[in-house]
Amino acid sequence: MAASGRIDPMHQFQIHPLVGDLNGSPFVFTNSALWMLVVLGLIWLFMLGGMKRQLVPGRWQIAVEGVTGFVESMLSTSVGPEGKRFVPWVFTIFMFILTANLLGLMPFALVGVHPFTVTSQFTITGVMAIMSFSIVLITGFWRHKLHFFSLFVPAGTPFVLKLLIVPIEFVSFMVRPFSLATRLFVAMIAGHILCEVFANFVVQGLNAGGAAGPAISLVSFVFIMGVMALEMLVCAIQAYVFALLTSLYINDAVNLH
């Protein structure tokens, strides 16, 4: 990338097959699948270490209980006592997104392995958003039957305003999975492109030499450290926002305003 002199920040998001052929075989093991398995393994290890159910919890168990307690309190504040039933799903997406985001930032390139951020693909965030949305729809129609459509009609609206508000509410409801998925994958892509571009500035500034080259490299290097710190914050915030919005949407389905 840097060798050709032209910055190619989109290269890191490319999916390439590790086993099989993208054009031929129906079963292809891609780098995306590999990193999803790594994320699964990490979460598994994290949970295994903390699920010993000791009476006096060790450090690890406290860490696991902190995360589950965090998700549970988020659901109980936004949904109420019914929210406990949705803890498994919200916990799953929260942990998956958080681990995948943070894994994508890890500097494994130092040992020659390029981490792949699975959450930077619209297919993956889209599937997660559609699953959240399906849970909302299924819960809503299961509990309230066709009365669920009253979600689009705020109580006590005059008839003339209803003509205007109902289509708006409908559109804002239907756009939810799209906005959930877009927010996550764009935030990841934007951060990684920014890091890639400035990392290239460091290399190219050193290659250029002269007086200005190393100075630009140094400035870019300091900047990239700040961006990395911001990216870690964004990783956590995006996972939190995805889980929070999912629990709010579940609240709509369970309690109907």
């Binding site: 504040t77 906005s179 877009t182 927010r183 764009v186 935030a187 939190y240 926002v241 929070l244």
Partner: protein
């Protein structure tokens, strides 16, 4: 002006939206801090609403980024 340079200028103009979203996010957090300092006891209970507002403001900026990327690469 040829198409390639017009695309680049268009993408740059679309990027202005990201700055506008930055103003929005700043307003969200600034107002939160403003009220949290006045009443620190009530601040923790409002963090969910803070992040909802943050998410809504940020989404529109990310949309501007998507538009810029689409102009550049599609």
């Amino acid at each position: 002006m040829d198409l390639a340079s017009a695309k680049m200028i268009g993408a740059g103009l679309a990027g202005i939206g990201v700055g506008a979203a930055a103003i929005g996010v700043g307003i969200v957090f600034g107002q939160f801090l403003n009220s949290a300092i006045r009443n620190p006891a009530a601040a923790d209970g409002q963090q969910g609403r803070l992040f909802i507002g943050f998410a809504a403001a940020e989404l529109l900026g990310l949309m501007a980024f998507v538009v810029a990327m689409m102009i550049m690469f599609m």
